[in-house]
Point group: none
Chain length 418, copies 2
Amino acid sequence: MIWVEVITIGGEILSGRTRDTNFAFLARGLVGHGLACQWHTTVPDDRDALTEALVGALTRADVVITTGGLGATPDDITRKVIAAVLKRQLILREDVVRALEARFARLNRPAPPNLQAQALVPLGADLIENTLGSAPGLRLRTEEGRFLYCLPGVPFEMERMAAQFVLPEIASFAPAARRHTRVVRTIGIGETVLAQMLDPLIPREITVAYLPRLGAVDLYFAAEAEARSAEAVLDRVVKAAREKIGTLVYAEGTEEIEELVGRECALRGWKLAIAESLTGGALAAQIVNVPGASRYFAGGIIAYANEAKTTLLGVPENWLREHGAVSEAVARSMAHGVRSRFGADVGISTTGIAGPDGGSVEKPVGLVYMGVDWPGGHAVIRRIFPSGREQVIGRAVLAALDLARRAILGMPIDPGRV
Amino acid sequence: MIWVEVITIGGEILSGRTRDTNFAFLARGLVGHGLACQWHTTVPDDRDALTEALVGALTRADVVITTGGLGATPDDITRKVIAAVLKRQLILREDVVRALEARFARLNRPAPPNLQAQALVPLGADLIENTLGSAPGLRLRTEEGRFLYCLPGVPFEMERMAAQFVLPEIASFAPAARRHTRVVRTIGIGETVLAQMLDPLIPREITVAYLPRLGAVDLYFAAEAEARSAEAVLDRVVKAAREKIGTLVYAEGTEEIEELVGRECALRGWKLAIAESLTGGALAAQIVNVPGASRYFAGGIIAYANEAKTTLLGVPENWLREHGAVSEAVARSMAHGVRSRFGADVGISTTGIAGPDGGSVEKPVGLVYMGVDWPGGHAVIRRIFPSGREQVIGRAVLAALDLARRAILGMPIDPGRV
């Protein structure tokens, strides 16, 4: 495995003002080339900080990529720091000066007086052409045989250079040592329990990472072995894991549960309608996030007030009085009501207590009922989610999508919470 | 100035699979407390890497915050590495074991057998309560007087601990050297235009940071001068800035626009109802995120299909035929229809083309109409947002909330986009 590190140079990232899309692009690009980033450092536009980060990275890594600090303003320090760290002279490259002048002439703009700053290059550096901007990138090889790539901070310039030149070159260094990965997505089971279930199944050469999100856990299986056997071992392990976890697995790869539910509805020519109390629109919003959702999503009713539950969804008033708005009976009636109101095939409902107020001993904050009404019948599940308003809502959205998945696919409706 | 560093522990960030929202949250939070992050390192769940990163950070920084690696799975290594680096023993804290067991009992779930792993705490560490999850956070003070905070990687748990405890505590370490800050929140104006408007107003001793979010920009004014004069200068500058920016400022401090809209509705005893096509529930969901929203939020109708617009909102069929679903007439009719359907005082509507498909030359992807119908009259605004499905929806939600704010407060309805 090649050890690759990325250093982001830029105070705007450290202040949280700007998201580091450059790093995300490089990280994914490395994985896409069968490589991995091992370490990422972000430092401000400051000589001492960049020096320390570079020295550290060049001690550990085979390849270091920096982004930023190649412009012509005083806080663009990358060239100078690199020259100092590698003990190389900075050379004014006349060919770069001429190329920059030609570029500005072509764009019909006056060449800036500090243009020469961008033509300073550490001795022995190769230039990486910048087809979309002015400052060229740099590639250097240290005496110890490590590679250093310096790319500009402007995202589209950086991305073009990385995709066209840097990433393929790094990948060519060690074609044999690629990493094999597989993703399995689960819902309704905690990472601790998953780890217990899977531990005995995982051979030495496979690593598993558990990535929890609200109410769901993604499993990342990775192997670093030789190409063919790694794929075979991964196949075997993933198959065993899926058998063990059962219907709590909802997808492999990158598919989201709302995409799956939508796809399965579209496949059957079914329309989906949503009645939300607790989740207040968040469930429908997640469904609508999928491009093309209008093919299967009819719409929804957010019946936040009790009156709306009665007038818009046909929930009997005496049920609200007898059972309360947060009850199995009302969840069932809401799912049924919205299905018939929209003339849909699948109706889903949520009702519950998001908190922080409104809970009681009998009906605590976090109590949620979710209903489904579909050609296969009707069902309601009940959960008590850990408190925190956004958390209760977020978990209910996911659980309701899972309920829809189970109903549509004819799976057991309620596996409980494992 | 206190030197603060953040270490993100997690291979999923380095692989580009997951965005590091934890770091972005901490970076912004530090700026919001008049502090700044000086250095950020991301390492995989690997003992050697974390050890090296920690040793480096503890050499440079006054305060180090780590996120991740506090779970109970084998790749959760933070506790062990910290104990090793600080040369402290790991103690099994019986009180933590009991708290974790009580938590699982409360949630009606079996306690996992490896629960004890989360109760291992380096000697001398203080616990930071995790109100939303299981693993508590840790605070340690090194022999050199540096502070180390270890927070979980699950974003909502981390955010709660950071906001409630860690960030205020760090800010309290150096009250004298502390920067005085003020936050002014704007909507519907870009950061470049804002910077041009404000530049002449800002004296030397004040810095302004522009933190753009989707369709909105927060302004952070900061002064490092002595307490009293700094506050006075800030008062003056913020006042001048507010006068210059006018109604594009919606709040000072931390109030969100959905909180403001809700508060102003509640103040008047008004009920709010929402008719969503384009935003598909996302607008209502944002309103419902505010605790106590049931006091003023009646509910909503997600009229995704045209039929729902007619049957549920009373949009005349021939308007849909003549003007199309994405039109001023339909937006107006939807706002009116939902207001009367729910017997509400304020009706808000959204209709538009989220993309990626469905656009035309006349009605491009990103075209959005938003309507409001309230005791003061009715109005519709039109926008064309930059494409990207989530971006169009997100910007429309914010613009619709701003429309509601302007209507309720009796401000000019449409400032356009500056």
